[in-house]
């Protein structure tokens, strides 16, 4: 009914012409909207404040934090970081996390890119089936593979090993990375590859010398997305790693939290630990933010 009204040529409703912009593009000035905008900016302000607050607390000692959680640090005191770094095993954990994240992300992309290229360029029953097979993994939650993976890796002595964790991360990241990169390769124009092929470049050559350089952006996006998810991954690391010197950051953080039950809360150290977990993500986000949001929304709609 309403639709008829919308579609039928109505008696022209006169609107005051906007200043340059069509009326449709100017927001309505309703109260509801005003409230919404205000609330939104409040959320934005609180989010930024919370982040700044968290970093600030990391520079204060536990007693000062508990006495006055709203306070600001009086001096730049790295004591918490030093303590977290030395006592809380965060030094080893940071190194492990860094190593795992970089190695597994590089390998994930290096292995997924050729596969995605093949799936995007060859179109037959087999590749359609393979694409589906890879997408299947997107829907399997980590807790399903947790126990069998532990049993399997235990048999080949790859539990409690950074190498084993790397392997697991690569395998688990395949569905998403292949999915993302296939969509990306499909969006690239074919003309350059065809031209190269005419000039006698081999199939591998067109991939290596034409498509890869063209796809730098998409590959970097896929890499950064993997860095983020591997840096934050908790459940698999918690299951597969047992000794302190193998812990990655999230596992170290959990063990640090649990130690406090017995040794009294060391909020200063804990805040330092949180900052160590969050800060790299913030740096990446500020540096490559647009690429990230685009990557995460790529192929969502179409």
């Amino acid at each position: 009914m309403r639709q008829d009204k919308l579609l039928a040529p109505l008696t022209p409703v006169r609107r005051r012409p906007g200043r340059g912009v069509s009326p449709a593009l100017r927001g309505e000035r309703s109260i509801l909207r005003g409230i919404g905008v205000t609330l939104l900016w409040m959320v934005v302000a609180i989010s930024i404040a919370a982040l700044v607050w968290m970093v600030a607390q990391a520079f204060r000692d536990t007693r000062a934090i508990l006495d006055d959680p709203w306070g600001v640090p009086t001096s730049l005191d790295f004591g918490n970081f030093v303590r977290a770094w030395t006592v809380g095993d965060f030094a080893v954990a940071t190194w492990n996390s860094l190593l795992t994240t970089v190695v597994s992300s590089v390998l994930t992309v290096a292995i997924a890119a050729p596969c995605s290229y093949y799936l995007s360029r060859v179109d037959n029953k087999l590749t359609q089936g393979l694409s589906l097979y890879f997408i299947l993994g997107l829907g399997i939650p980590a807790q399903v593979i947790l126990i069998p993976l532990f049993v399997m890796l235990n048999k080949v002595y790859l539990t409690d090993s950074i190498m084993g964790l790397n392997l697991v991360y690569i395998g688990v990241s395949m569905p998403f990375t292949v999915f993302l990169l296939t969509a990306f390769f499909r969006s690239l124009p074919l003309e350059m590859e065809e031209a190269a092929a005419l000039d006698g470049t081999t199939a591998f050559g067109t991939f290596w010398r034409i498509t890869l350089p063209l796809a730098k952006g998409g590959i970097l996006t896929a890499f950064i997305l993997q860095v983020i998810s591997h840096w934050n991954e908790t459940l698999l690391a918690l299951t597969l790693l047992q000794s302190t010197e193998k812990y990655t950051l999230p596992v170290a953080l959990i063990s640090f939290v649990q130690q406090q039950t017995y040794s009294g809360a060391d909020w200063g150290g804990l805040f330092a630990g949180l900052v160590i977990v969050v800060l790299p993500m913030l740096i990446i986000y500020v540096w490559l933010g647009r690429r990230l949001t685009e990557g995460l929304t790529l192929g969502m709609g179409k």
């Binding site: 829907g139 399903v144 947790l146 690569i170 991939f207 918690l238 953080l253």
Partner: protein, 332 residues
């Protein structure tokens, strides 16, 4: 894909060009066979080196364990020693286990209640953000929590909601002398739900906005010309044109909500023996505790049965969602 040689190749030097002006047969250079040009034939040979590694790693480290989970869930097994085949017994057992039912119930609460809240809020935010000044800044800020490990929120909540913590110190001047015990075992889960809504909405807002931004502006102009109200514009333009994005978001949330583990694991800071109170368990926590907590004999069968049920839940919901969301694609 075929290569079209519509024009004969002309090379730079004039001496050659005379020769090459003769029509070049299409099969000249590499003798392409029927059914595809040479590059296609060549490319097909790359199947093993290109797809092979990804296929093997994915199969061995993902698909085989997933199938293994189904296999283990049919057995009674403590992780070592003999496996005893018990058929579907484990499923029957966990359905009689009060703890599993409450954990699974919590997962459903996250999935549906938190999901609904997130979607309503995200859509409202999208509408507000659509033509707001400074929308990029706002959007970038609310997206950021998605990149932070949920552990961080769990730990922070422990600090903020402490009996002597920040929330209570904020409430005190407002005359709340007897604030609720935020971190009491029964209150933790609702608090987790609220935290999740706060930290996840931004991500879905970003995705929905990408959908809304695709709508060409002349549609809105059309609406204005036709005198459509804001609600009509929402109902007949924005919603139908972003419907597919909604579907994608719903699938994404279904998958990610069933995985939720780390925030529950540390929520409220420290929780006694390292295992969160049972009232706040999710299906993922149930799986982990039953297999790895070290508190009792590991029950791998029951643990994987719970995980397999989560997978079944996801599969059913994704199929239903796809069916429910299937509409004629609106081309624009």
């Amino acid at each position: 894909m075929t290569l079209h040689l519509t024009e004969p190749r002309t090379d730079g030097t004039p001496a050659q060009s005379a020769e090459s002006r003769k029509p070049v047969p299409r099969t000249s250079r590499r003798g392409s066979r029927p059914g595809g040009s040479s590059i296609d034939v060549q490319r097909k040979k790359l199947l093993i080196p290109f797809v092979g590694p990804a296929f093997v790693l994915y199969t061995v480290l993902f698909i085989v364990p997933a199938l293994g989970a189904v296999w283990i869930s049919l057995h009674k097994w403590a992780g070592s020693g003999p496996m005893k085949f018990v058929g579907l017994d484990n499923y029957g057992r966990i359905f009689r286990d009060q703890l599993f039912l409450s954990s699974f119930g919590n997962t459903l609460l996250l999935l549906f209640v938190v999901g609904t809240a997130i979607f309503v809020l995200a859509f409202a935010l999208t509408l507000v953000l659509r033509d707001m000044a400074g929308k990029k800044i706002a959007r970038n800020v609310i997206f950021f929590p998605h990149l932070i490990n949920a552990l961080v929120f769990g730990v922070l909540a422990g600090f903020i909601f402490n009996p002597g913590g920040m929330v209570n110190s904020l409430l005190a001047p407002l005359g709340v002398t007897d604030p609720p015990k935020w971190l009491a075992q029964d209150n933790i889960f609702p608090l987790i739900m609220v935290t999740l809504v706060c930290t996840t909405t931004g991500y879905f807002t970003t995705i929905l906005m990408a959908g809304v931004d695709r709508i060409p502006p002349y549609y809105y102009e059309d609406c204005a010309l036709a005198g459509a109200s804001a609600f009509q514009r929402l109902r007949y333009v924005i919603l139908p044109l972003t419907w597919d994005v909604f579907g994608t978001c719903a699938v994404l949330w279904t998958i990610s909500s069933v995985k939720i583990f780390e925030i529950v694991w540390v929520f409220g800071g420290s929780s006694g023996a390292g295992v969160p109170p049972t009232q706040s368990w999710t299906a993922a926590v149930y799986t982990y505790v039953n297999a790895f907590s070290g508190q009792s004999t590991p029950a791998y069968g029951a643990a994987t049965a719970s995980a397999v049920l989560s997978l079944a839940l996801i599969s059913v919901l994704v199929v239903l969602l796809r069916r429910a969301m299937r509409r004629d694609a609106v081309e624009f």
